[in-house]
């Protein structure tokens, strides 16, 4: 409890849960997006269950990006970011802990809500388990990649859209292997573990690399 990083972690969680913190908005947005889909597509249960994993993944991707633009911008606006630079704790670790808190506040609720929403898309039980597992393995990559974009746009007004434009193309591999592992869970020619392992590898690689990229972007923010 005494270490600077745990203090940062609890502060971030507390801010995310407070009014206007945006912690709950991601999951509400996810819920609305997924609930709208059957209205747009119509009551074709076979079609819905086939494209269900893709809908859930795209909704999760957008819901994750929704809150990410404020990840560093809020700190840049109120001057906290300058002060964090004067801390003895390396900025890379600060970035990692902020991302961890952000993932717990926004992405973990998506993982928990996804099987319930999968039911509304007429997905099969194996597919529901598959989508939860693939989101659990893949959303860390989305958060970490998004953190790079958030760091690059931290100094800009209305940087959220620019961040989405920068980051969405980079999330393509995560989306491909996320949807394919969810689809593989309900049968198909590819065993479930193969796309799942690639998805986990993408998450681990972004966990290892993104803090350095984001910290470098934050340091160069003012120069």
């Amino acid at each position: 409890m005494r270490s600077p990083l745990s203090a940062l972690f609890w502060r971030e969680l507390r801010i995310a849960r407070s009014v206007g913190g945006g912690g709950a908005m991601g999951v509400v947005f996810f819920l609305i997006l997924v609930s709208l889909t059957p209205f747009a597509i119509g009551p074709d249960l076979n079609l819905l269950s086939r494209i269900g994993p893709a809908i859930l993944w795209i909704a999760a991707l957008l819901a994750t990006l929704l809150g990410l633009d404020r990840l560093f911008q809020a700190d840049a606006d109120d001057g906290s970011l300058d002060l964090l630079l004067t801390a003895a704790t390396p900025l890379e670790l600060i970035v990692l802990v902020k991302c961890l808190a952000h993932w717990i506040a926004t992405a973990l609720p998506l993982v928990v809500a996804s099987p319930l929403l999968g039911l509304t898309l007429a997905m099969e039980p194996e597919s529901l388990a598959g989508i939860s597992l693939s989101l659990l393995a893949g959303t860390p990559a989305l958060t970490m990649l998004g953190a790079i974009g958030a760091a690059l746009t931290a100094g800009l007004r209305r940087g959220g859209l620019l961040m989405a434009v920068l980051i969405l193309p980079l999330t393509t591999p995560v989306l491909i292997f996320g949807v394919s592992s969810a689809a593989a869970a309900s049968g198909g020619t590819v065993p479930f573990h193969i796309p799942m392992l690639i998805l986990s590898a993408l998450s681990l690689a972004s966990l290892a690399g993104a803090p350095f990229a984001a910290a470098a972007a934050l340091r160069a923010r003012d120069a």
Partner: protein
């Protein structure tokens, strides 16, 4: 005891040299006030010394027992933004910065720091409900939460009432008596006794300072 040596500091922003060939010495217990018109580069100089902006030229070094620690980690920076989260209370904000900025686990309680700036009864109030001057006082209370030898203050007295300016002047005297250094940019008198001044002159455009 730490002292600071700056030689021919230059700082560029947006392709223009904003701060050009600034040299000064700041020894333990001393204070330096940067003066100059709006746009003369006071804030830029302070932000470069705090490590937020890269130097485009010159040398900045510090000597003393803590010479191996990077200068930003020895500095408190109080700038135009207060560094406070409006959803958290004043005490929570200060407790967080104490943990983040202090080198030891021994930090004073937020309520004692808030008492010094006269805000003890508002300790459990979310910062969002405080006035501009009260927020500034909470930001200044951060100086008491973690001992650091160099205080870098950019217009610290903005929005402060007379009584708070007096408290600030007393805190400056105490910090300098303990061997601390103060580097401030200001237009208003800060109550710094025999502080050296550093005149940054007029805006760089008048000097033909384009790089």
């Amino acid at each position: 005891m730490t002292s600071l040596l700056a030689r021919d500091l230059c700082v560029d922003r947006g392709g223009r040299t904003i701060v050009k060939n600034i040299s000064f010495d700041l020894r333990a217990g001393e204070a330096l006030v940067a003066l100059g018109r709006n746009g003369a580069g006071k804030s830029t100089l302070l932000r470069a010394i705090a490590g937020f902006l890269p130097l485009s030229g010159g040398r900045l070094s510090h000597t003393g027992a803590e010479a191996e620690i990077p200068l930003p980690e020895l500095s408190h920076y109080v700038g135009h933004a207060d560094g406070l989260k409006s959803a958290l209370t004043a005490a929570e904000n200060l407790a967080f910065w104490a943990r983040m900025l202090a080198r030891s686990d021994e930090t004073p309680s937020p309520s004692s720091a808030l008492q010094r700036v006269g805000l003890k009864r508002l300790a459990d109030f979310p910062v969002a409900y405080l006035s501009a001057g009260q927020k500034r006082r909470v930001a200044l209370a951060r100086l008491f939460m973690a001992p650091r030898p160099l205080w870098i203050l950019d217009e610290p007295a903005t929005a402060l009432d007379i009584a708070s300016q007096q408290v600030l002047a007393e805190a400056f005297a105490e910090h300098r008596a303990a061997g601390g250094m103060i580097l401030a940019a200001t237009h208003a008198p800060l109550g710094l006794v025999d502080a050296a001044t550093l005149d940054l002159g007029s805006a760089p455009a008048d000097l033909g300072g384009n790089a």
